[in-house]
């Protein structure tokens, strides 16, 4: 493996949450109002930015000023009373198009139906680093609440000026400002008419307390729900701009393969087909998908492959290649694990392995690209539209302002749609073909060429006192990541460590990050320890945890699934039923992709007083845990 590859240590948590560069808002104020029509707008500025500190509270218009930079969201009240919220976040099924509109309607005091959200369009919405980490609700929702409150104040201010009264006595409700003293009222649409008023979000602005919310936090029908149940909603793969061609990419035979030679003469001779060869990239665009496929199949390419690690070798490889001295931030130690193990009445050591896992969103990675006079528009299902824009600008050597990325509401992502692969491929083919080009990855491409949740090896050593108190806990995660690696249980002698390993397969962000693997290993191990101590697994956990909040979580969880339930034959029966059912329903000659992975599993080494020879018991934890 080359030196440069050796440096590619995987830290998805860090890359996902890395500080994004601050991009500048490119839309001039007059363009903004030209785009949306006249009305009233409020802009939220990134916290701690100088623009925010300079902003004086209270309504004001900025005639000669450009809109402030570092804007994170904005809201517009149009002359027809339509309220539009703008955010760079994407809708991938988490339902933010509905929940953000609820928040705005609630705080602005307008009907839910009058609010629409414009999301994830780099030409229309403010910069956003991406939709991941479940951050939209905790960060974007409060922001829109403050933006809506400021817009409401602005509307009150306009009405107060109109009536020449003090704003304090005026009331905002039902998309109107009313003056109880005189009985007058003006609708938001009337107040916005003929205005081009814009305001930065005041530093402090009180918002409605949760107890008084009327629309937020209550069930409402999903926005555009009807379009989804009728099939009318257009995901990226459903787009068909006029003159569009279908694109296909010739994939290398394995990871890291480089192109040695290529004969594309037969493909080039096919009518209506455009062939692109650019470095190791080879692709075709054609009027139908089949023609594109046939063209790619007709290309004779020779590749130089590099040796690959097999599934069989994978876990040994990860252990072997782990860096021997991890950085201090990846280590945590308390007391002495050796002392804790020496004083233990029971010891249990185990190794857990976690396979590479594909995100498998039901909508595959897809993009439609269209060039118009040196400007590029790409529709693509991505979680990071602005990063895709930047990638496109960099790869095609054009300014960011010449690239527009639009994200149609997307068929899920699970952390798997952070990269710009399909967008780059469609744009490259489109530029050569002189037509819009659509690329939709096949499921096979999804399972072979999309990045994975990384595999990992987790080793646990532990000791228990005779009464079931944990005396020692040593936990090593190789490769899969450090999220959630610390144990929440009380152990006076403990050591946890994350060992980075150079990438084996293309790996990246994924739902839950490494917490999934670390929780799986830790809690599986805790169950095994409870059995060793002959204590109920819930009691065993309660005994070893002092954090009151976590104890409440355990209690609430156990209650919700009826634990402790009667020791049942039922549970046992369901395991064997499940196992036999699985065997019966497996298709006889299923052709699995080469990257198919085994379920997470564990092997245990057990002994008492550490004088009994350890034995290894392989277990299928996926089946075992489903019996609970």
């Amino acid at each position: 493996m080359s030196d440069s590859t050796n440096n590619l240590f995987l830290e998805p948590e860090r890359s996902e949450f890395r500080a994004a560069p601050i991009h500048h808002f490119e839309l001039a104020r007059r363009d903004f109002f030209k785009l949306l029509g006249a009305g009233i707008a409020v802009f939220a500025i990134a916290r701690n930015s100088s623009a925010m500190q300079e902003t004086a509270p209270g309504p004001r218009s900025f005639h000669s000023e450009e809109p402030p930079k570092e804007i994170t969201s904005w809201l517009h009240v149009g002359e027809d009373g339509t309220v539009t919220g703008f955010t760079g976040k994407v809708e991938i099924g988490q339902n933010i198009r509905t929940s953000l509109a609820q928040t705005i309607a609630d705080e602005l005091r307008v009907p839910f139906e009058s609010v629409r959200m414009v999301t994830a369009d780099t030409a229309l919405t403010p910069f956003d680093p991406g939709t991941f980490g479940s951050r939209t609700t905790p960060t974007m929702t409060p922001q829109f609440r403050r933006v809506a409150a400021a817009a409401r104040d602005l509307l009150i201010g306009v009405a107060a000026k109109e009536w020449n009264v003090a704003p304090e006595g005026l009331i905002a409700a039902d998309a109107k400002i009313s003056d109880p003293a005189s009985g007058r009222s003006l609708r938001y649409a009337e107040l916005a008419r003929g205005k081009t008023l814009a305001q930065n979000l005041p530093a402090e602005d009180p918002v409605t307390p949760a107890a008084q919310w009327k629309i937020a936090g209550k069930p409402v029908p999903k926005v555009d729900g009807r379009a989804f149940v009728t099939g009318r909603h257009q995901y990226t793969p459903d787009l068909r701009p006029a003159g569009m061609l279908y694109g296909k990419v010739l994939r290398p035979p394995s990871f890291g393969a480089t192109l040695l030679s290529c004969d594309d003469s037969a493909a080039k001779a096919m009518a209506g087909v455009a062939i692109v060869r650019d470095g190791d990239f080879i692709g075709a665009a054609a009027p139908t998908e089949r023609e594109a496929q046939n063209a790619v199949a007709a290309i004779r390419a020779q590749w130089k492959e590099v040796p690959q690690i097999s599934n069989k070798e994978l876990f040994a490889y990860l252990k072997e290649k782990a860096s021997s001295s991890s950085e201090a931030r990846h280590r945590n130690q308390k007391g002495s694990v050796n002392d804790g193990l020496a004083s233990a009445a029971h010891r249990l050591d185990a190794t857990y392995t976690v396979a590479y896992i594909a995100h498998a969103p039901l909508e595959p990675r897809a993009a439609v690209a269209e060039w118009t006079g040196g400007k590029l528009t790409v529709w693509t299902g991505t979680q990071r539209p602005f990063a895709v824009r930047d990638d496109l600008a960099a790869v095609f050597h054009i300014p960011e302002g010449s690239v527009r990325v639009i994200v149609p509401d997307t068929g899920s992502a699970y952390g798997g749609k952070h990269t710009s692969d399909a967008a780059l491929e469609a744009a490259r083919l489109s530029r050569a073909a002189g037509h819009p080009v659509k690329i939709v990855w096949t499921r096979e491409e999804e399972f072979t060429w999309a990045y994975f949740r990384p595999a990992g090896v987790i080793e646990v050593k532990s000791g228990l006192a005779a009464d079931g108190t944990l005396t020692a806990w040593e936990f090593h995660n190789y490769h899969s990541g450090s999220s959630g690696i610390e144990t929440p249980y009380d152990v006076s002698n403990q050591r946890t460590e994350y060992h980075p390993v150079p990438l084996v397969l293309r790996s990246g962000s994924y739902r839950g990050l490494a917490a999934t693997a670390n929780h799986f290993a830790r809690e599986t191990h805790m169950d095994a320890l409870a059995r060793a101590a002959k204590i109920d697994p819930l009691e065993f956990r309660r005994k070893n945890i002092s954090d009151a909040r976590l104890r409440s979580v355990l209690d609430a969880t156990a209650k919700s699934f009826g634990w402790p339930r009667k020791k049942s034959q039922e549970g046992r029966a369901s395991v064997s039923q499940l196992a036999s059912k699985r065997a019966a329903t497996l298709p006889p000659a299923q052709k699995w992709p080469s990257t198919a992975h085994p379920a997470p599993c564990a092997s245990f080494a057990w002994w008492k007083h550490s004088n009994v020879a350890p034995s290894s018991i392989p277990m299928d934890c996926a089946i075992r845990s489903s019996a609970r």
Binding site: V229, T230, G231, Y235, R240, L362, E363, R443
Partner: protein, 159 residues
């Protein structure tokens, strides 16, 4: 150029010029613009491309277009009648039985076929019937609720 193939889709006759072994899914989406039927896997494993052929649920990615000749084909776009949703569509909407909704058209088509064959299915029959339709978001409990609700509505005589 192969001879044009005549299809009847959502009650309308149409002629398509595709090689007869082209998948019905491709023809529906790329030729007829009926993009409500989704490509999810191309191997008949995920159910996103489910359509009704002669009332029976079929994975359109696995059906050559030639096999659709002379049969009535219904896609998700064909369920709504004069602005009125099919009870299964209405029930999915009311039960909020989707998140990203990419599986929803296929899920609805399979459910329509189920209720046609078995108007009052038990939960386990619903689960069994919909096994070939994958929802990666995990909305299954609501999907089961929606199908049960639709069954009730349809038995109550609504369209």
């Amino acid at each position: 150029m192969p001879a044009p193939i005549e299809l009847e889709v959502n009650g309308k006759k149409c002629l398509v010029n595709y090689p007869p072994d082209t998948s019905l899914l491709t023809v529906l989406r790329d030729e007829l613009g009926l993009t409500g039927t989704k490509y999810g896997c191309g191997e008949g494993q995920c159910g996103a491309c489910t359509v009704l052929i002669g009332g029976a649920p079929r994975r359109s990615c696995q059906v050559p277009v030639s096999a659709g000749v002379g049969k009535s084909i219904t896609t998700i776009e064909g369920l709504e009648k004069e602005g009125l949703l099919h009870p299964v569509q209405q029930a999915f909407l009311e039960a909020d039985a989707f998140q990203c909704a990419f599986c929803t058209p296929g899920m609805i088509m399979s459910s329509v076929a189920l209720l046609h064959a078995k108007p009052n299915p038990t939960s386990s029959e619903i689960i069994q019937f919909l096994q070939g339709n994958i929802c990666r978001c995990g909305t299954h409990p609501r999907i089961i609720d929606a199908v049960r609700q639709a069954a009730k509505t349809m038995q109550g005589g609504r369209p």
